[in-house]
Amino acid sequence: MRVTKSGVTRRDFIKTGIAAVGAATLRFGDFAAQNAAKYTRYNVTSEGGKKALASYAKGVEAMLKLPADHPQNWFRNAFIHLMDCPHGNWWFYVWHRGYLGYFEQTIRNLSGDDKFAIPYWDWTTLPQIPDSMFEGVLTPQSKAFEPYTSNLAVFTSFIQPALAAYWKTLDAGQLAQLKTRGYTSLDSVWNDVTGFDPSQSNGISGNISCANTCWSRYLTRDNPKLDKNTAYDVSPFVVYSGLLPTDFYNPETYLSFNSSKTPSHNTAAGRQSFSVLEGLPHNKVHNYIGGVGPLDPGPYGNMTNFLSPVDPIFFLHHSNMDRLWDVWTRKQKRLNLPYLPSGQDLDTLSKEPFLFYVNGKGEYVGTSHAGEYLSTEKFEYDYEPGFGEKVVSGPAAPKARRALPPARGVVKGSAASVTVPTAAVKTHLGAEIAPSLIAEVTLPHPSHSGAREFDVVVGAPPNVKQVSADSPYYAGTIAFFGHMMKMTGPLHDATFAVPLPKTPEAFHGLAAANATVNIRVLPRGLGQKAPVLKAVTIRTR
């Protein structure tokens, strides 16, 4: 199955943004009014992905052979990233979308494959560098890189004169952005290439961005796997957590799909807050491929620094990050939630100028704005489905919600029994993302001297009086907080929503059409009195 519609259509974009943003701010003409994408970015392991890799290799080889003063030279392309890339802020996704989009055009033109689209590396399902990325020019350890990267002196003599000439062509706007980044001259840029720290008048090996050919990538064909720490950071649990926020941006980063809002995309690193997906899988994959973790104190491979696009795996890694943004966008649409900020925030986000891109013809793009890259339609692509699509389709919860009205239980003391359709229980047990059965437990405020925390257990035998969190019957803990001694007047009932455990041991009698779910509330601590429940209802979501 293909995703036939890219994340943000022109109509959708206008619906979200037009009320809040002046037409002059955004180039709506850039959003082609079409539903089917012209290009598809395939999983690198699929047949489409393998075909794309062949073209990718041709394109990389052609870029390597271009002279250093050509804007599409392989290393010049990497310097666009070093000089302009945003990290730890809310332009991270959108800037990289533009960078990849133009790069994709370049490969398309230089490879002669007019259908080429950058494949993605879905590290969640394949936590190792794809084997094919060790072939020929697809690894920076290839002999094809040696004439340029065999050592720092070689790299310097090849690229620095061309960069010096380029620096002289920069306009005031570009120089101002570079200054914001801390680059006041080419020498200051070069300090990041060599790892020289002017404040210490010393070189720092871990800061060297120019990786010699021989250590340009830590992982090898014989040792291609992400280690356990990196594999955890790309695991389904972490990636799903990163897709769950419902705000494009929220000042509370744990509620935000994007990282922090900064004055500009070039604002120097230091106090950013990283969203889950940028902070964990994105960063960790970058660093581990370059050897951060096993190696100390560096120098590290290309992927650990801002010249990371020297390693061809960079574009497959970022294609996957962009795909996850697309997945998140389509999830928001399914839930009828905004997938862009609104009002002044959208204006600020969209107006940010990006000044350093090079297009597929080798021309400097000049001034473009972030708002042009909020949609995948600028570059007319979509994605072959990969990990995370379940948050878009979300089949289990809607079915259960339609099937089951709230089921009110029969309460006796601290226990309740609730009859629900067995099918709903099976759906709940089979749900991969989140529980679909939720118990609403109503009980009175405890007295001032009584227990204030209660464990909710489901299907537990009568002799179970206390549970730990790893018990198959444990559903959660109800906790009363606050300065209860200062409360005045009558104490009210309180209702807590508790997701039921997804353990088979908690449910019995699933052979019949209806199942009885037994719920008890146990006081925390020995000798404490069990509460008298007021009501228990099971709902679905």
Binding site: N207, Y232, F237, L255, A479
Partner: protein
């Protein structure tokens, strides 16, 4: 009558084992339906190539913070780390923080990991 209670209290209990710093965090309240817990970790200045590993005291990995592209001498920033429900016990989670560089591992100082707290996020 219904009332859904929320409280913002949390506290940390510090300890210093040989290879990590343990912080016991109390959830501000019980998780409600569909909610997830996350750790918010503020990382200060750490040496290039250093990483902050998080795990439960029983060794269950919680994630690795690996700052990318942070210039020497700058704060590494604040990171959000999802917290699995099964890492929470009795409304608490004990997190072991380790600073790893190459083959060596030690407890990060209070300047290197400035703070850690639990946040609760709803979902749809």
């Amino acid at each position: 009558m219904r009332a859904l209670l929320a409280a913002l209290a949390f506290f940390t209990i510090l300890a210093q084992p040989s290879s990590g710093r343990i912080e016991t965090l109390v959830l501000p309240r019980a998780l409600h339906a569909g909610e997830t817990a996350l750790l918010e970790v503020k990382v200060g200045v750490i040496t290039r190539g250093s990483e902050i590993e998080l795990a439960t005291t029983s060794g269950r990995p919680l994630g690795v913070i690996s700052p990318f592209g942070i210039r020497s001498g700058n704060q590494a920033g604040t990171y959000t780390v999802p917290l699995p429900a099964d890492a929470i016990s009795n409304g608490r989670v004990a997190v072991q923080l380790s600073l790893r560089q190459g083959g060596s591992q030690r407890a990060p100082t209070k300047e290197e990991v400035k703070s850690i707290r639990v946040r609760i996020r709803g979902t749809r």
